[in-house]
Subunit: 226 residues, 2 copies
DNA sequence: CGAATGCTTCGGCTACCATCGAAGTATGAA
DNA sequence: TTCATACTTCGATGGTAGCCGAAGCATTCG
């Protein structure tokens, strides 16, 4: 009855703790196998398989067969943005899966948000780009200015390649720890990949945390000063 | 286990169709009684009462007793933003509560989003304000420039009063029909109230649609030309 | 080919929760 | 005070979905 979108199906998918844990694990950005996701959710393989079917039917995740493994990942950027958004809301209300532990500060400093950089570092990067007139924000959409294109090219990113994709190059994503936006989209993904490829930072295992090396942090802060 | 916010509780609250319908009804921005919400959800009064308790315990809605009535409303702006966000996601996936009917075009043109203007008109207003340099967007946050403050004052809104509140004056909210942002926050609320008080527009009963009078639409478009 | 690994499907169990009828509480009107 | 309205709480029911053991496919490896 009534008009408007139906939010209950999405809610039901996210509403189960096992599925929510799986989705949170996939926010790490890496494709995971059914076994790994079962472990992350704390359920057996059979149960996980059922959940994964439902998540896939609901369009939240996508699978890729590779040999005898089946890798699952979030279906697209939109799902990542949605989840980060709900996480922000939950974090504001103090709904945490555990008491803030030693890993929490690391998460707030720098973490991966599906496929791009989030946390203090992610927010700082976008702030700098906007302040320097390299990224223009317009009603929730973002775009690179000519000076921004030059800056990105100087970092060693092939913008032309990004533009050929159907995905938006620039997007903003609300950061749950900072309550401000950071850069998403294919450019956000490419930047994080660049930092990791250059050895500036590493993903921590079994966590969304990103650890910058001393040298990497120095360079990052030089590139995007406060 | 694990670190990070717990999204499953939010999802579970939204995941039930009856509760989702109630929340959607409350997106109309008006406080509703338990009976009205029961009707909107299509359940009996007792069932509705249980759902309302859970929504309140989860912090999504707040109640205000008034005589023998109990009025329920969304707890705060954040809830409205979250719901509109999820609606946008659901709409993109084609998850609608009914086949798009005659009301649908009206909803896309102008509707209330909890307490502010959304739809084509809402997006156009924010676009105009940003293009004219009256609203500055910065990493997901918005603020009025000096010229913007003058413009708003000219419309007849008491900015000083808005600033004394703890709520942010300017916010952006992702629009599900336009996939772009419109203006939320106390300013967004005040603007919509102004349009209605001036007789430019009316709320449609039992719908989120906003209907502009011919004269009101003329004036609105003059104030915020394409 | 067989054995092993990775995952899905089936069957049955259980627990939870949405639902409603009926009774209870609170506020307002007569 | 008595009745009516608005809502909540209690109790019982039924359906659904999460869960796991076991069996069934599929792929790879030796």
């Amino acid at each position: 009855m009534k008009e408007g979108p139906d939010i209950s199906q999405i809610g039901a998918l996210i509403g189960d703790p096992a599925r929510a844990n799986m989705l949170t694990a996939l926010m790490g950005g890496q494709a995971l196998t059914a076994s790994e996701l079962a472990g992350a959710a704390g359920v057996t393989l059979q149960t996980a398989s059922t959940h994964l079917s439902r998540l896939e039917a609901g369009g939240l995740i996508a699978q890729r067969k590779q040999g005898r493994h089946r890798y699952f990942a979030l279906a697209d950027d939109e799902v990542g943005l949605l989840l980060e958004n709900i996480m922000g809301f939950a974090a504001n209300r103090g709904l945490m899966r555990s008491r803030p532990g030693p890993k929490d500060p690391a998460l707030r400093k720098a973490r991966v948000c599906y496929n791009h950089l989030a946390g203090d570092f992610g927010v700082r990067m976008l702030d700098r780009l906007v302040a320097d007139g390299d990224v223009a924000l317009d009603g929730g959409e973002a775009s690179l200015t000519p000076s921004g294109e030059a800056r990105i090219a100087a970092i060693g990113i092939d913008l032309a390649a990004l533009k050929t994709q159907r995905r938006p190059v620039c997007r903003t994503c609300l950061d749950w720890s900072e309550r401000r936006s950071h850069l998403a989209g294919s450019l956000g993904e490419a930047l994080l990949a660049r930092f990791i490829a250059d050895g500036w930072a590493k993903r921590e295992k079994d966590s969304r945390a990103i650890r910058f090396t001393a040298e990497g942090e120095r360079r990052f802060l030089a590139l995007f000063p406060e």
